[in-house]
Structure formats: structure tokens, C-alpha cells
């Protein structure tokens, strides 16, 4: 451990207030170490804070350079957090039924003064798709997926797919023409899944005598939409996946992703 360095603050009123504050029982019960201005306390702040402890204590200088990282991974995480927050607020105003979905969005636009939550949610979602893609681009170009980080790259690819699915499921919720036709175009693909879609190659082979096992009312598309077209079932399914299912999965994978970055010795370079 390097020699402990401390910076002596000048005695001003603010300093005295600060010194008094950091000596109180309340403060000391929250932060169990002094201000992070010495090597020792800089270690302690990272180790004793649950939010900071996913970071290492020290890291390669290149890892903090915008020139090197483009900050795309960090921005993706920030956007995820802001999407969680704005999405939570939107859930107060939105009911996922054919009767209310569209009018709730209209009401949100018309009745909430200075409301920008839906805007922040929509633009944030688009931006997150872009930052996640560019994050992958940077990780590839710096060779950061190479050993020992092969597994973390795979986790990242899965999270890229989840990001697209999160955005896709959210696209339906305003229940306007843009929404249902985009989802109709997208989900029509599932109809052609080999063997599992009723218009997919091989599906006709799955039959018992004259009874087809795969038809429009039980194939992959039906499972996705909860119906044979984009309707009530699809709206509810997409809502639940968008607000609960997919965010839970991606949050768990994020924890794995960040933890592995730390355990694999930083964002890139050999261990």
C-alpha cells in the first residue's frame, strides 16, 4: 500500500461545518470512513458502498479515457436507469387494455402540464438501442472480447437482444397505427418459423393423420401475441414483458456483466 496522503483543508466556516457534520452520529452511521481524499479512504469508499462496489478500487488509465471507451457502455446503463424511472411514472397513467391504452396516452399528452416523461422514455429507448450497438462496436474494435472476457461478450450479446426486445415490446403500448402495424410486421415473421410457425417450412410435416399440429391458432406467432392477430392478448403480453419480465432479466444480466468486468480485470486488455 502506498503512503497515505491527506490534504489539509483550510479552516473556514464551511470547513468547520463540514467537519462538524462528518463527526455526527448520523453521518458516521451512513459513511463508515472519512472523506475519500487519501489512498486508504479511496479504497474504503469503493468497498463499503453497495452501489460503488461493482467498480474495482483501481483501474487502468485507458479505462477512464473517453478517447478509448466512448462512454457507450456507461451511457447505456444510464439510459436504462432513466428508462426505469420514467417508465415507472408512465405506469401510473397507463392501462394496457384496448379500451384505455390509446386514450391514456392522449390524456397524458393533453392533461399533464409540461409532461415530457413519454418523450424521455421514447427518445431514451431509441438512444439506448444506439448506445448498446455502438458499445458492442467499440468492444469489438478494441478486441476487448478476447480472453478472459469471452463469456462477458456473450452476456453482452444477449443483453443487446433483450434491449431490442424491450424496445419492440414497448413500441406496441401507445396502441396507435404506428404501434400495431410495426408489431404486425415484426411478429408476422414468427409465422414463418421453421416447424413452429404455420407458414414455416416443415410445419406441414408435424401432423397426426389429417390433424395438423401447427396451425394459426397454436404456432410461434400465437404464443408471442396471445392471439392470431395483434389484439388485446398481445397488448397485455407485451405490457407485462415490457414492464416486468424483460427488465428483470436484463437487470440480472447487467449485474453479471458489470461483476464480470471487474473480475476479468477491467474493461479490456489481458488479465
Amino acid at each position: 500500500m502506498a503512503e497515505t496522503k491527506t490534504i489539509d483543508p483550510k479552516e473556514t466556516a464551511a470547513t468547520r461545518l463540514w467537519n462538524w457534520l462528518t463527526e455526527t452520529q448520523v453521518w458516521k452511521s451512513v459513511f463508515r470512513h472519512d472523506r475519500p481524499d487519501s489512498d486508504r479512504t479511496r479504497v474504503l469508499v469503493m468497498l463499503s458502498n453497495v452501489f460503488l462496489h461493482l467498480h474495482p478500487v483501481r483501474m487502468r488509465k485507458s479505462g477512464v479515457k473517453l478517447r478509448y471507451t466512448w462512454c457507450m457502455g456507461g451511457m447505456s446503463f444510464f439510459l436504462f436507469l432513466s428508462l426505469t424511472l420514467t417508465g415507472l411514472l408512465l405506469m401510473f397513467y397507463y392501462r394496457p387494455t384496448l379500451e384505455y391504452a390509446y386514450t391514456d396516452i392522449v390524456a397524458l399528452r393533453e392533461h399533464v402540464p409540461l409532461g415530457i416523461m413519454r418523450e424521455m422514455h421514447r427518445w431514451g429507448a431509441h438512444a439506448m438501442v444506439i448506445t448498446v450497438m455502438l458499445h458492442m462496436f467499440r468492444v469489438f474494435l478494441t478486441g476487448s472480447y478476447k480472453p478472459p472476457r469471452e463469456f462477458n461478450w456473450s452476456v453482452g450479446v444477449i443483453m443487446l437482444v433483450l434491449t431490442l426486445l424491450l424496445s419492440f415490446t414497448g413500441y406496441l403500448l401507445p396502441w396507435d397505427q404506428l404501434a400495431i402495424w410495426a408489431i404486425t410486421v415484426g411478429s408476422n415473421m414468427a409465422r414463418a418459423t421453421p416447424f413452429l410457425g404455420h407458414e414455416g417450412p416443415g410445419a406441414a410435416l408435424l401432423r397426426l393423420g389429417d390433424v395438423p399440429l401447427i396451425h394459426a391458432y397454436d404456432d410461434a406467432r400465437f404464443a408471442l401475441l396471445g392471439g392470431s392477430f395483434v389484439g388485446e392478448g398481445a397488448l397485455l403480453r407485451f405490457y407485462v414483458l415490457h414492464c416486468v419480465g424483460l427488465p428483470l432479466v436484463i437487470a440480472v444480466l447487467m449485474a453479471v456483466h458489470f461483476w464480470r468486468v471487474r473480475k476479468d480485470g477491467g474493461i479490456s486488455g489481458p488479465l
Binding site: Y68, S82, E119, Y145, W153, Q177, I180, G200, G202, V230
Partner: protein
């Protein structure tokens, strides 16, 4: 002015657009020493900005770029082009240093710094900057809301969300079971497989080109050309009936495009052998089936002994075959594009009896 717009419209034709995109990538990689200069980068970004400013005065162009959901894609065009150039510049710099025996810049930055304050404060600053950008963007641009959902009124064109438009563009060349299910699945599998099939230990943790030429060229082709440039094509240049429209062209619903595409079986049985199509589907499609089998299964071992011999020896059989299979699947899209553009080929294998068309 009209001439310039006409030229740009003509250049944006999917065939030329794709070829120009591929050629620019080749030039960017080949002439990277020149591309890596700041003058090139700034003039490239300047030209792009000039194009959008110039286009903003055109009413048809306004309609496309003015769509709120298209604004992020304009951001994507700018940031991706900039970052591709930027990464190339860093790579060239590092390659020069490596050639001079100095090692990459990142090596000099490999000494450790404290996460508090160096990283934590950087994170805080970018958090504030991102919040400001997001809030300003949200105040300036309203989220779109169209008419309530109506299953009896189909908008023309009906487009998937923008990040799937590359896949929707693939539907021009492949049936949904390939373009919508099998190939996207292979993209995911292929991406996950990258670190396991790439055995090159060099270039770990720094920008470089010379040490990882093949990897970077293949990835740039897959990501920048096949993924992003097709998204841009699908967003800005595909109008009603998924017909092509130049950036300054009016989206005319009645624009007619003759569909004169012909199946391979018809080319062979009807036009070459002059016998008419056989009734049995297997016999009818035998040439297409053979073509696909040769492409998928015979080509990799042939390439292993010829063009890809170096990689076969470097990677070893399992890695080589996985890599080449994924590579050939990726190249199946440009291959099908070329066949379509050169011969109006519709399907190589066409068995509508089982929804099995390739």
C-alpha cells in the same frame, strides 16, 4: 439544383447505394493512412452535415427526416460514421507506433488510477451531460402519436421499428423464414461465437488494424454495411409498397415497379432445356438444391484447400468450419442481392408446397 438532386436520387438506388457503401468501406480500409488524417475526418463530417442542410430545404426530404422516430437514426448515421473513422484513426496511430517498436498508446495508459475520483467523477459528469441532452431533446421533439389502432386500415408502407428495418430490407431478397427467423438467429449465434472462434491473441485492449485485418474487415462489413446501412436504406429510401424512393423523391403510392423475377428452376427447365417444369418438386428444384448444398457443405472444405488455407491451418478444423459456415451465411445476403440484380433471380430453391423458398 435539379440535376444534383436527380444524381443523388439515382445514386441512392439500392443497387448503387449498396455498391457505393461497400466501395467506401474498401477505400476506407485500403487508404487508411490517408483516411486517418483529421482533415479527412472533419471534411467527411462536414460533407454529411452539408448534405442534410442542403436536403432540409427539399419538401420530400423534410417529410422523411422530419418524422420524430427518424431523428435518432440521423444521430446514428453521424455517430457511426464518426466513430468508424475515429477508430480507424486510432488504429492507424497505434499501428505506426507498433511498427516503430513503441507499443500502442493504451500500453502507456495501463498504469492504474484510483476509481474514486477518476472514474466516479467522469461517470457523474457524463450522467449530467446525458440527462441534459435527453431532457432538451424531449422538450424540443414531441413523441409521435398517430390515429388510434385500426386493424382495417393498413398504412402504406408498414414498417417495423427502425432497428429491424435491416431485417425487413432482407425480405426483398429472402422469404420470412430466412430473413425473419433463421438469419437473425444466426446473427445472434455468430456474435456470441466471435470470441470463441477468434484465436488471434493480438489486439487485446487497444485499437489496431494491422494486427487483426480479417476480423475487423468482416465485422465492419457485417455491422456497418449489412446491419446499419440497410437500416438507413429501409428507413429513408423505402416508401409505399416497399418501393425504392430517392431522398428527394415524392413517395408516390402508385409508383410501379415491374416484378420480372424468375426462379432458377424456370431458368434451367424452361429457358435452357426448353422442356417445361417437371411436376415432381424434387426433380424441379434439383439444381437449386444442389447449388445450396454445394454452397453450404462443399464450399467450406474447398476453400480450406484454396483461398482460406491460411485460416484453416491457423484455426484448426472445428473453429474453421464454424467460422466459414457463419461467414457464408452472412455472405448469402450480398450473394442473393447480386443474383437478383444481375439475373433477376427470384428463388434458388422454390418449393411453395412446403413454404420452403431460398
Amino acid at each position: 439544383m435539379g440535376l444534383l438532386k436527380g444524381t443523388i436520387n439515382a445514386l441512392a438506388d439500392p443497387r448503387l447505394y449498396f455498391i457505393v457503401a461497400v466501395l467506401s468501406l474498401i477505400v476506407m480500409v485500403w487508404k487508411r493512412e490517408k483516411v486517418a488524417s483529421n482533415a479527412f475526418g472533419y471534411s467527411m463530417m462536414g460533407l454529411l452535415t452539408a448534405f442534410f442542410v442542403f436536403g432540409a430545404f427539399d419538401p420530400n426530404f423534410q417529410l422523411i427526416i422530419g418524422k420524430p422516430d427518424n431523428v435518432p437514426i440521423i444521430g446514428l448515421i453521424f455517430s457511426l460514421l464518426f466513430l468508424t473513422w475515429y477508430a480507424m484513426r486510432e488504429a492507424v496511430r497505434n499501428d505506426r507506433r507498433i511498427a516503430a517498436g513503441k507499443g500502442p498508446i493504451e500500453k502507456e495508459e495501463s498504469d492504474r488510477v484510483w476509481v474514486w475520483p477518476d472514474l466516479v467523477y467522469t461517470e457523474l459528469i457524463s450522467l449530467v451531460v446525458c440527462s441534459v441532452i435527453l431532457i432538451v431533446w424531449s422538450i424540443v421533439l414531441k413523441a409521435p402519436l398517430e390515429q388510434p389502432a385500426n386493424r382495417s386500415v393498413t398504412p402504406n408502407p408498414s414498417k417495423a421499428p427502425w432497428y429491424f428495418l435491416g431485417l425487413q430490407e432482407m425480405l426483398v431478397y429472402f422469404d420470412p423464414w430466412l430473413a425473419g427467423v433463421v438469419l437473425p438467429g444466426l446473427i445472434i449465434v455468430g456474435l456470441i461465437a466471435i470470441p470463441y472462434i477468434d484465436k488471434n491473441p493480438k489486439g487485446n485492449g487497444y485499437y489496431t488494424f494491422n494486427e487483426r485485418k480479417a476480423e475487423i474487415v468482416i465485422f465492419l462489413f457485417g455491422f456497418v454495411i449489412l446491419w446499419v446501412s440497410l437500416i438507413v436504406l429501409g428507413t429513408f429510401l423505402r416508401g409505399p409498397n416497399w418501393n425504392f424512393f430517392g431522398p428527394f423523391e415524392y413517395w408516390d403510392v402508385h409508383k410501379l415497379e415491374a416484378l420480372v423475377n424468375v426462379n432458377l428452376s424456370e431458368y434451367i427447365w424452361v429457358r435452357a432445356l426448353r422442356t417445361g417444369l417437371p411436376g415432381n418438386w424434387f426433380l424441379r428444384e434439383i439444381f437449386g438444391i444442389l447449388f445450396v448444398i454445394v454452397y453450404t457443405f462443399a464450399l467450406p472444405p474447398i476453400l480450406a484447400k484454396s483461398a482460406f488455407k491460411k485460416y484453416y491451418e491457423k484455426l484448426g478444423p472445428p473453429r474453421y468450419y464454424v467460422t466459414v459456415f457463419l461467414f457464408l451465411m452472412m455472405m448469402s445476403l450480398p450473394a442473393k442481392m447480386l443474383l437478383r440484380w444481375l439475373f433477376n433471380l427470384k428463388y434458388i430453391v422454390a418449393i411453395p408446397e412446403f413454404f420452403f423458398n431460398i
